[in-house]
Amino acid sequence: MTRILKYRVRVMLLAGLFAAAFTLTTAFAPVAQAQSKDPIKIGFSMALTGALAGGGKQSLVAMQIWAEDINEQGGILGRSVELVFYDDQTNPKNVPGIYSKLLDVDKVDFVVSGYGTNLIAPAMPVVIDRDIVFMGLFGMNNNGKWNYEKYFQILPAGPSPAVGFSSNWFEAVKTFKPKTIALVAADAEFARNLKEGAVENAKAMGLEIVYNENYPPRTADFTPIVRAVNAKKPDIFYIASYPNGSAGLVRAIAEVGTDAMAVGGGMVGLQYAGLMSGLGPNLNGFLNYDFYVPEPTMNIYPGSKELIDRYQKKVKDEGLKTDALGYYLVPWAYAYVDILGKAVNAVGKIDHDAIAEYIHKTKFTTVVGDVEFGDNGEWTQSRTIAVQYQGIKNNELDQFSQPGTRKIMFPADIQTGEVKPFNSLR
């Protein structure tokens, strides 16, 4: 009797194995070879759940707006454009499989990256293996080790991203003539890289580093950190934090206070609608990085305002559960696919060598202004802006879509305000 049962279990095991193998191979059998009139498929993974989903969802909406736009204008190479995307759950583990699926099974014509450095990194070897163009969205020096000539990245942090990210912030604080600096970073990939870049900038300025620590993601109370920093009496206080920590530090600084003249720098999350309105007046005085703010000088980015308006309308009309304002990622997520589309149309055929060469030598005019890529696929110059939060009176969301709450301090060509000491704005 037991023999029979064991036999059955074994049969079941074999059946299971074959069923699994069968599902994995045949259910995803390649679709028929692309016809010339079939749509051009652009594939990517995107963080739609997990820690980076806030940014991922926002990016996806922007990319969908772009697809609508390009299809109205006649598509790419006369073919319509279709986006093929999968949720990577903000887990790098899922990324290699997704890109393999996109390239081998869905037979997409192009791939672009998901949102964030650690979700771009696992896709690199898969893409390099095929020798195809790869557009990156907010990756921090992903190409540093690979030196892949067909990788292009839209985060406007210049040829050396970690350093370029904070260079404009350090330019802005020069008016205070600081001598000492304290640095705090979240124990996470992006924040740690930012801080390393900031340390280099600080050394270049001859600042003395009086405090340099990291905090773990499960930190609930930030007042001990702020007090420890205050005890060192730094002139400026550079923070590279993730959303949880950004909010925690803003509140802790509001409660404990600080005498540093400039506070902030690399605080991710203070650009999100939810956190801005949640923190409200506590934000006043913070000097932080940003990429796009609703200031009048931003009209040097042609079409960006219209794009943001369309995004906000779309979110409102369709009741999407994503960032209500969309300043942080929308223009950039739009631009990185836009550049790809423009390049393919200019080359006139799907030839990855020619497209990469074209992107390298061309200056693109996009919703994020003029874009040029250097040899490593990063921007040739840093366009990260330093903004200071000013005149925030309450927790209304609307004030953040008007000029004035986040004034641009640097770069000089789009400056809209003067940097003031942190405590003078509290």
């Binding site: 029979i4 049962l5 059955r8 279990v9 074994r10 079941m12 095991l13 299971g16 194995l17 069923a19 699994a20 193998a21 599902t23 994995l24 191979t25 259910a27 995803f28 059998a29 390649p30 739609l48 759940t49 995307f85 999968y86 949720d87 990577d88 759950q89 887990n91 790098p92 583990k93 899922n94 990324v95 290699p96 499989g97 997704i98 393999s100 699926k101 390239l103 081998d104 099974v105 450095t117 650690n118 990194a121 696992p122 690199m124 070897p125 293996d129 992903n142 540093g144 080790k145 690979w146 979240a186 124990d187 996470a188 990939e189 924040a191 740690r192 890289n193 390393e196 990291n214 773990p216």
Partner: protein, 322 residues
């Protein structure tokens, strides 16, 4: 004679099958997804040696995998050690860790043991976060060797290599490791060790008074289980080419490592294999078909439904029906 080694012959047959698969020039997605599924089966099998046979719930799977991953990373950083020694070192170190945790927590039972392993995983994660040699919290990218060689033969090369592609090589490696783990698990189950562990699971005091060397058996089980998990982690950096502590020490591993044997059935080696196969395949398919928060829902619902309606897993459910 042949009947006696039936299982071993089956193992070799599967290994040969895995090798043939890599030579067929199949769709490369198969190897990516296949790798993930096989890694799951290996983790489930390793976990079950301690959790299923011995009844000790290890909640720190992520810790063992992380030690494996970061051993590999450290070796790569140190002098670009190739993949096979990486995996061996990873297994050795994670095995030692298993021995240590077994030794320090030998007085702990049940949930206390589970919480201790969880705490260990968090401590290890914090250490790696602060260890800049292996990238720290920022994570680290590694370049896989372009043309790895083993005993003079080129392993991966499009023309002259044994495998045409690095992913096919990794697939074959993990297939071999998984088959080995299953063989280890089955050997333990059928042997003295398995019977001893089962006695511990049923009633530790009684087993001890009957002369079962409980401490030694537990230490052997934690070491073997840890070493196999370490090996599964050791191959991970080469597959991902990017590792950060958040990925290596993901809570997900703890969940899956107990969910898979649970779904398959914990009392026999087939259980984790089936559970891993099922959950792994479902996960791989779901990622590329559903692509929304509903993905997470599948895991939740599968877990709740299985533990409520199939208390002894697939194997138990199947046996009862017939």
């Amino acid at each position: 004679m042949i009947m006696r080694y039936k299982f071993e012959i089956g193992c070799v047959a599967f290994l040969v099958l895995a090798f043939i698969l890599t030579q067929l020039g199949l769709n490369r997605f198969f190897f990516f997804a296949g790798f993930a599924v096989l890694q799951f089966i290996m983790i489930a099998t390793a976990w079950n040696i301690l959790g299923g046979y011995g009844g000790y719930i290890n909640f720190g799977t992520a810790g063992f995998l992380g030690v494996g991953s970061y051993t590999s990373i450290a070796l790569i950083q140190w002098s670009n050690v190739s993949i096979v020694p990486q995996i061996i070192a990873a297994a050795a170190l994670a095995g030692l860790l298993g021995l240590a945790i077994g030794y320090f927590t030998l007085r702990l039972k049940g949930v206390y043991f589970a919480i201790a392993t969880l705490a260990l995983a968090i401590v290890l994660e914090t250490v790696v976060n602060n260890w800049d040699f292996v990238g720290g919290a920022a994570g680290i990218s590694i370049l896989p060797t372009r043309k790895p060689e083993l005993l003079g033969a080129v392993i991966v090369d499009r023309k002259i290599g044994v495998f045409g592609n690095y992913k096919e090589f990794l697939f074959f490696l993990i297939a071999g490791m998984t088959i080995f783990s299953v063989w280890v698990a089955r050997t333990i189950e059928k042997g003295k060790l398995g019977r001893g562990l089962n006695a511990i699971k049923d009633n530790e005091e009684a087993a001890e008074s009957m002369g079962v060397p409980t401490l030694r058996l537990k230490l052997i089980a934690t070491t073997i289980s840890g070493a196999l998990m370490g090996a599964a982690g050791g191959i991970f950096p080469s597959y991902l080419t990017f590792i950060d502590p958040l990925t290596a020490f993901n809570l997900e591993f703890a969940v899956y490592s107990l969910a898979m044997p649970m779904i398959g059935g914990t009392f026999t080696w087939i259980g984790p294999v089936l559970g891993g196969l099922l959950l792994g395949t479902v996960q791989q398919v779901a990622i590329v078909t559903i692509s929304s928060e509903l993905n997470l829902l599948i895991l939740g619902v599968v877990l709740v439904v299985f533990v409520t309606f199939a208390p002894h897993g697939l194997v138990g459910w199947f046996m009862k029906k017939n």
